[in-house]
């Protein structure tokens, strides 16, 4: 009836009896090159798995939160801050890392692919891979990538996070290409335009993009204020 009968009281000191673990953060970084959805992998510079492709990652430090750690690692490797980032899942199989018992918390991040400079690319031996052509990755990283892609698809259907993958201003065609890449499908131009504009989170600029067509297509920007009004419940985007 009372707790004392069965479960012995324990003091804070007794936390010490429990096992401790190395905690890693691994980041699936998505980018979009205008045609394909890409992920960023690095050639691993240390054992185990030296020379193999791997997600960007690092170890959590004692004095930082797990979320902070992910931000720090993303920042270290991309030079970017305020990256859109979301926790994916925690991977804790006993043998997932041959180098030791490491529990990894996977995050996925969305960046504008042009923000990631060549210097950092070379410095970290990083490379963008088409998501349809993911190379062999160490440990359980491929599982992480697969899961991340699924989550991105789910999320992007109801939340306009996809904009994080595009430049500040973009055309409706670029946005459509992005959704087509994420869902590996084709979308009718008219239906897409109507739906996305009806949501009311895009502002049309006077300016046109003139690279990819003679007529030129209008730039739009994402309207964060209008977005915030709608965000809470999620909106139907696709």
């Amino acid at each position: 009836m009372k707790a004392e009968i069965v479960t012995p009281k324990k003091s804070i000191a007794e936390y010490k009896q429990y096992d401790k673990f190395l905690l890693a953060v691994d980041c699936i970084i998505f980018g979009f090159d205008g045609e394909q959805l890409k992920a960023l992998f690095i050639k691993r510079a240390f054992e185990p798995g030296l020379g193999k492709w791997s997600l960007m990652g690092g170890f959590v430090k004692h004095e930082e939160g797990v979320e902070e750690a992910a931000q720090r690692i993303l920042n270290q490797l991309t030079g970017l801050s305020n990256i859109y980032m979301e926790q994916l899942s925690c991977f804790g199989e006993v043998d997932r890392d041959p180098g030791g018992r490491v529990v990894s918390i996977a995050y996925f991040a969305l960046i504008n692919i042009t923000d990631y400079g060549d210097e950092l690319m070379k410095e970290h031996n990083a490379k963008w891979f088409d998501l349809k052509k993911v190379p062999n990755l160490i440990f359980d990283h491929k599982k992480m990538v697969t899961l991340a892609k699924e989550r991105l698809q789910q999320k992007v259907a109801n939340h306009p996070i996809g904009f994080a993958l595009l430049p500040y201003k973009f055309t409706l065609r670029q946005l459509q290409s992005l959704y087509e890449a994420i869902y590996e499908t084709t979308i009718d131009k008219r239906n897409f335009t109507r739906k996305i504009l009806d949501i009311g989170i895009l502002n049309k600029l006077d300016e046109k993009e003139k690279e990819s067509s003679k007529k030129g297509s209008f730039y739009y920007v994402f309207d964060e204020k209008k977005y915030r009004q709608l965000d809470k419940e999620g909106m139907k985007l696709i």
Copy 2:
């Protein structure tokens, strides 16, 4: 250009330089009493937080995977195995547990409320709480519960996991009540019946439930085979 230039090689031994953490598992256990969606909390039997309401939890052991740990803890506390369980999120704020730096992986689980016996209830000082009347919980457990409820709502819209909250055979009214409780809404009886039967994962029995009405209402059972055919993509349930 090559990894060696910038990043020094590291040996496995160097994993040792990184910090280690206590890893906990906390479980949000949902149940349904026919009217309300409930969650199971226990009165904590040790410090910190002795005597306060808390989620069921425990520490991960070195020789087990995180998922295994969650199953073990659920089994210890409920006596049940093969519980429907899903990882929710990892909580890793530095100060989340005043007893030490503990990173917690939250799982949510669905059980048939009648499977959880009185003895275990007393043994662990556990109690079912209406989800609309969650008591104060230790640490960040309330955040976990809130998130778990949101995830349950999302998940249940496309996957028939709700059946895990019901007995083997149930009436359409019970099933409807469950959905009404999960979404805190009311549903039209005719629309609900039509939709759920159209999906084709329920089998009608000849038997009637006679407790709650004079006419009696037919029992149905969940058809796992039919379900598996549809599962992959998820189905629209609500």
